[in-house]
Amino acid sequence: MKRTSNLTIDPDIFHSRNDRISHGRWLNCFRILLSPRNKDFTGQADEKPPLLVMSHGGPTGATDTTLNLEIQYWTSRGIAVLDVNYGGSTGYGRAYRQRLNGQWGVVDMDDCVNGAKYLVNRGMVDEKRLAITGGSAGGYTTLCALTFRDVFNAGASHFGIGDLETFVQDTHKIRIALSRSIGGSFPEGKATYQARSPIQHIDQLSTPMILFQGLEDKIVPPNQAETMFAAVKAKGIPVAYLPFEGEQHGFRQAKNIKRALDAELYFYSRIFGFELADPVEPVRLST
């Protein structure tokens, strides 16, 4: 077999083939767990690692099993990653994919929440340092988990949806797909859209968050992040908002991808109270 890339990875930093990369089904959900790894650092014996739960976009896509340097960014910095293929993800059969029908904002959220709780109950991660992150639909799942469940201590939404009601009115092209995921069309099912919109339940939110947004995003427009930021800030919860000029739905420019990753790490270091090994440009937290 011939391949176009002979890129090799450093097994002292990145996970190698012999590592236990857990890809399994627990609590009726498929998840991939990657533990922290870096040859230059060892966690303290009496300290469990922070956990970052990743929620993919779609919502009916799936997280990829190929080498993902974004995940390795976190594991090489001492943070365990749980990459969740929540109910509705493709690649596990029709019945599994259909678990999300009419349940978007519920099944995805609880599969992420239950994954974190499972690892806490097994003593594998620090229950006081649990974070959730995701882009697009994964950003929506993140905001739902932070608002409707009391498990995570921090979260990052990358161009996520905070208000389904305004989103469905701004985004005409995917209304049919949206109605299938939510379980009703708009405005007939307005009550469900409201019930599953984090910003409409801001009274339930008490968790710090960081928001990333491309200012040219036509899929999830900037008003989603902007209104979420304003609402969280008004409540006095630590929050940061990083808008990116020239970016659309998913960042493309290397400097912005790097900035977003570093800013998210900086945010967790502030919320969880750990020192960064390398200097990172600070992020302004509003409270």
Binding site: M1, R3, S5, H15, T65, T66
Partner: protein
């Protein structure tokens, strides 16, 4: 998946090469159409996409947790 997605192709009139995904892991297989026999084509990859077949040559994108995504060409032994 975008435009031009492909998960199978014919290597001959009696032989199909296909990608399927089970429990989140991709598999490459040949299918003897006449005898309805599926044979796994072993690869080290957990993700396979964009399959193209031309005679005995098979082309696809592939990657695994320890190998970055790349384009592959292979000449599997059918039968």
């Amino acid at each position: 998946m975008g435009f031009g997605s492909s998960s199978y192709g014919f290597s001959s009139k009696d032989m199909l090469v296909s990608v399927y995904t089970q429990e989140g892991t991709a598999h490459l297989a040949s299918i003897d159409i006449q005898h309805q026999i599926l044979r796994e084509i072993e690869t080290p990859y957990t993700s396979i996409w964009g399959l193209r077949v031309k005679g005995e040559d098979v082309y696809f994108g592939g990657g695994s947790p320890v190998e970055a995504p790349a384009l592959m060409s292979s000449k599997p032994i059918f039968g």
